[in-house]
């Protein structure tokens, strides 16, 4: 298995509180991604990073921010959590470009519940 650790694995938080999810990799891969998975929607990209301090938005980025200060860590922050952000969040890494067919390696997910 690719060395990807997501923390926490489970979190329950209240509406309006800030939440930070962490993804840590030991593979030294350049690209890191945050997806959310919801029934009927599959996996949707939130943000991704193509290097330290280099990030870009995905298709569902509203309400989320990210930071990558080190190659191995990619943080996802919900500045003020809402119930619509209840989901399972997956971090993924890749050593190459998606358009060149490099596969994604996923962590085991963080289940976030916003009450």
């Amino acid at each position: 298995d690719a060395g990807i650790t997501q923390s926490p694995r489970h979190k329950v938080t209240e509406t309006g509180t800030p939440v930070t999810l962490r993804c840590h990799q030991t593979e030294n891969h350049r690209y890191m991604y945050w997806y959310r998975q919801d029934p009927g929607h599959g996996l949707r990209l939130i943000h991704y990073s193509y290097g330290v301090k280099d990030t870009d938005k995905g298709e569902v980025s509203d309400g989320y921010s990210v930071s990558r200060s080190k190659t191995e860590d990619f943080l996802l922050t919900l500045e003020s959590a809402t119930s619509s952000q209840t989901s399972v969040y997956f971090c993924a890494i890749s050593d190459g470009l998606q358009r060149l067919n490099s596969p994604l390696h996923f962590g085991n997910g963080t289940r976030l519940t916003v009450t």
Binding site: I4, Y31, Y33, Y35, G40, H41, G42, L43, R44, L45, Y48, Y50, G58, E59, F90, A92, L97, Q98, R99, N101, P103, L104, H105, F106, G107, N108, G109
Partner: protein, 111 residues
């Protein structure tokens, strides 16, 4: 927006049966990937198909990429309980470095 529609959404079959799941789009993709996801885990890559009309086999799993590169199928022969999981197709977004995922097919193989 490039959409990937998967069908059926749910499939429950007996051990030993054959099945096919589909991944369709109105857009052309340079390639498509198939992933399998088990409960509590992240998706794991099964295969990448690149050339229109390509067929790839992985033991009892056969993957096909449509000639026009707009669709793909996964056929499983003699399904086993270990095949149970969520099957996802994914394709690269044109001009960007990320993947679009289909909505998935949840397969249950009953012993």
């Amino acid at each position: 927006t490039q959409l990937l529609e998967q069908s059926p959404q749910f499939l429950s079959i007996q051990e030993g049966e054959n099945l096919t799941v589909y991944c369709n789009s109105s857009s052309v993709f340079s390639s498509l990937q198939w992933y399998r996801q088990e409960p509590g885990e992240g998706p794991v890559l099964l295969v990448t198909v690149v050339t229109g009309g390509e067929v790839k086999k992985l033991k009892r799993l056969t993957f096909q990429f449509g000639d026009a590169r707009k669709d793909s199928s996964l056929h499983i022969t003699a399904a086993q309980p270990g095949d149970t999981g969520l099957y996802l197709c994914a394709g690269p977004q044109t001009g960007a470095n990320n993947l679009f995922f289909g909505t998935g097919t949840r397969l249950t193989v009953i012993p």
